[in-house]
């Protein structure tokens, strides 16, 4: 390396889920190379699913991630139900949103306060931060616990819940059991308002990009399980059209595929995209809280994704309370379905963004092929572009500080690297 060149290298990213690395090369003050390298070994879930029965798919895909298993279950059941011609409506539909609320709460708060917030305050990790800000960390852990309790009540356990199935649930809660959780949910809602005010006061680097934000959009609700796929640049497609507009490519430096919009390029998924595209669908208290802290949309500063995460946590509490108040126990925990051959897709809003599943099954319900596109893989290209765009600012800083800021820029996206590395396409070249 010559005197004109500088390299910033983090061989093992901290405070992200999974194994990733970062490499930035600068020459004469210009960024010449940026790599967000995911070296977590591929986990080959798409291949694992082939030959399995359809009813195994939700529980197998849930194992892709311990933080967002519900998202995998939801995208998979919606995809399979589209093949069997089934729509889940009424109380069962509401219960699906309810368990998703639990997951959003625990995932968002874990990331916002234990992985991301330390960056803004100059701490190496949450432990160091906890020594100086014990009440905030305790509050965050308490809110996370309430989210975990909701998932456990709905799903049978906190991690890899076991109640979700094609057509509905194996077992649904009684009204009484859900009502018993309301005091905790109200407590969680109040605590989250405190947390939202706190994150709004953080120091945010000045950085904006002209993102294409992509999220689901539904005419009547803040999107979780259903809707069309839209963007701020005119995209408006049904879920089955996903593969007509999005494509994946393998890159040499990563075990996770990069996604792009055909003919356009990178895009962003996740809480910031959702709020930018669906702010009017948030519940009242969340909309008021965002107005109180002066959060304006569209927000193009990815560092403010932490605000979006905590705001969505507040929304999740409001939505959970609404669902419980209106809940009427269904006659049956799941709808009848008639297994048939076919191909179908599902797309739901994981905490980190849209999660797309597509399956083909045989006439007896056996999986013939599977495609899973997680949000972190979709954000990868955008992450690298952010690093390239922010590099001119950061290379003027002392190396250690600059490296930390590069890492922080990656953590804006709350990457879940284990989710992203489920696939490897193998090519054998024979000479």
């Amino acid at each position: 390396m010559s005197a004109r060149e500088k390299e910033y290298r983090v061989d093992y990213l901290a405070r992200v889920e999974g194994e990733g690395a970062l490499y930035v090369k600068v020459r004469d003050g210009e960024v010449v190379d940026v790599k967000f390298r995911i070296f977590e070994p591929p986990r080959l879930f798409e291949a694992l699913l082939v030959g399995r029965m359809y009813y195994d798919v939700p529980d197998i895909t849930a194992r892709i991630c311990g933080i967002c298993p519900v998202a995998y279950q939801m995208s998979s059941v919606h995809a399979l139900e589209s093949i069997f011609g089934v729509r889940v409506e009424g109380p069962l539909r509401e219960l699906r949103r309810l368990i998703y609320c639990g997951e959003w709460i625990e995932s968002h708060i874990l990331h916002a306060f234990l992985l991301h917030a330390p960056d803004f305050l100059g701490y190496a990790d949450a432990i160091r931060m906890a020594k100086d800000h014990p009440e905030i960390v305790k509050t965050a852990l308490r809110v996370k616990k309430i989210g975990n309790d909701l998932v456990a009540l709905m799903g049978g356990r906190e991690v890899h819940p076991v109640s979700v199935c094609v057509g509905g649930f194996y077992k649904v809660p009684t009204k009484r059991r859900l009502e018993a959780l309301k005091p905790e949910l109200k407590e969680g809602k109040a605590l989250t308002k405190t947390l939202l005010s706190w994150v709004a006061e953080l120091n945010f680097p000045s950085f904006e990009q002209d993102y294409e934000f992509v999220a689901l959009s539904h005419p009547k609700e803040y999107p979780m399980n259903e809707g069309r796929i839209v963007s701020n640049k005119g995209l408006d497609i049904s879920i089955p059209e996903y593969e007509d507009y999005f494509e994946e490519e393998q890159v040499p430096h990563s075990n996770a595929l990069h996604s792009r919009i055909k003919g356009r390029g990178s895009y962003m998924v996740g809480p910031l995209s959702r709020i930018n595209l669906n702010r009017d669908k948030l519940a009242d208290e969340t909309r008021e809280a965002l107005a109180d802290i002066g959060f304006s949309t569209p927000c193009r500063n990815p560092f403010k994704s932490i605000i979006a995460r905590v705001a969505e946590t507040l929304y999740a509490f409001e939505e959970a309370l609404r669902i419980i108040d209106e809940y009427k126990e269904p006659e049956r925990p799941r709808v009848e379905l008639k297994v048939r051959a076919g191909r179908g897709s599902g797309c739901t809003e994981a905490p980190r963004g849209i999660l797309y599943h597509r399956y083909e099954v045989s006439d007896d319900g056996r999986v013939l092929s599977a495609k899973i596109v997680p949000p972190t893989a979709q954000n990868q290209k955008r992450i690298e572009e952010d690093l390239r765009a922010i590099a001119p600012q950061l290379i003027r800083l002392p190396r250690e500080r600059a490296t930390w800021r590069f890492e922080q820029a990656i953590r804006n996206y709350d990457p879940c690297i284990s989710c992203a590395t489920h696939f490897l396409r193998l090519e054998i070249e024979e000479e």
Binding site: V16, A124, I127, R128, K131
Partner: protein, 167 residues
């Protein structure tokens, strides 16, 4: 009537994965202790999963887990000084927060129990699907018995009674 501090029980957090041979040691101890008066038993796959239990203010906390083989299979290590817990490096992932950092977080938040004992049972084979080693299984019985005796002695002392003789 307000519970007196001396009557508070013990929480035993048992970590591990029973599907991976000797890594099931913690859960076996949990099974052996379940139903013992005044002992609250919690099973978890990792310290991160048991975060909330460990953070809950309590009088005494016991943690049981398998450890990699250092001396001999089935050897029982008892740690009361947390500084002796080896560091596995910085906290990198929400999936794999190591035990020492969970305890460090609890200490930073001022909720670390005043009394903690960590039992580490040396294992041999941690391969998925493997059986638990007989020596690890025996060590689990000894650990459970020790915890049970200590809890019983504490109860007797709280009642102002002499400790029961070991049977």
């Amino acid at each position: 009537m307000r519970r007196s501090r001396r009557e508070r029980g013990v929480t035993v957090v048992c970590l591990g994965n029973p599907a991976r041979g000797d890594d099931g040691a913690g859960h076996l101890v949990a099974d052996l202790l379940t139903g013992t008066p005044n002992i609250r038993v919690v099973k978890a796959h990792s310290a991160a999963e048991a975060l909330h239990t460990i953070m809950t203010p309590q009088e005494k906390l016991i943690i049981v887990d398998a450890v990699g083989r250092v001396t001999k299979v089935g050897r029982i290590h008892r740690l009361r000084d947390l500084r002796r817990l080896s560091s596995q490096g910085g906290w990198r992932s929400s999936h794999t927060m190591p035990l020492n950092e969970v305890l460090e977080l609890a200490e930073a938040l001022g909720v670390l129990p005043p009394k903690i004992t960590i039992y580490g049972i040396e294992g041999d084979c941690f391969e998925p699907g493997s059986e638990m080693s007989p020596k690890v299984r025996e060590a689990c019985r000894r650990v459970a018995s020790e915890i049970r005796r200590a809890a019983s002695a504490k109860r007797q002392k709280a009642k102002g009674l002499p400790a029961k003789e070991a049977s």
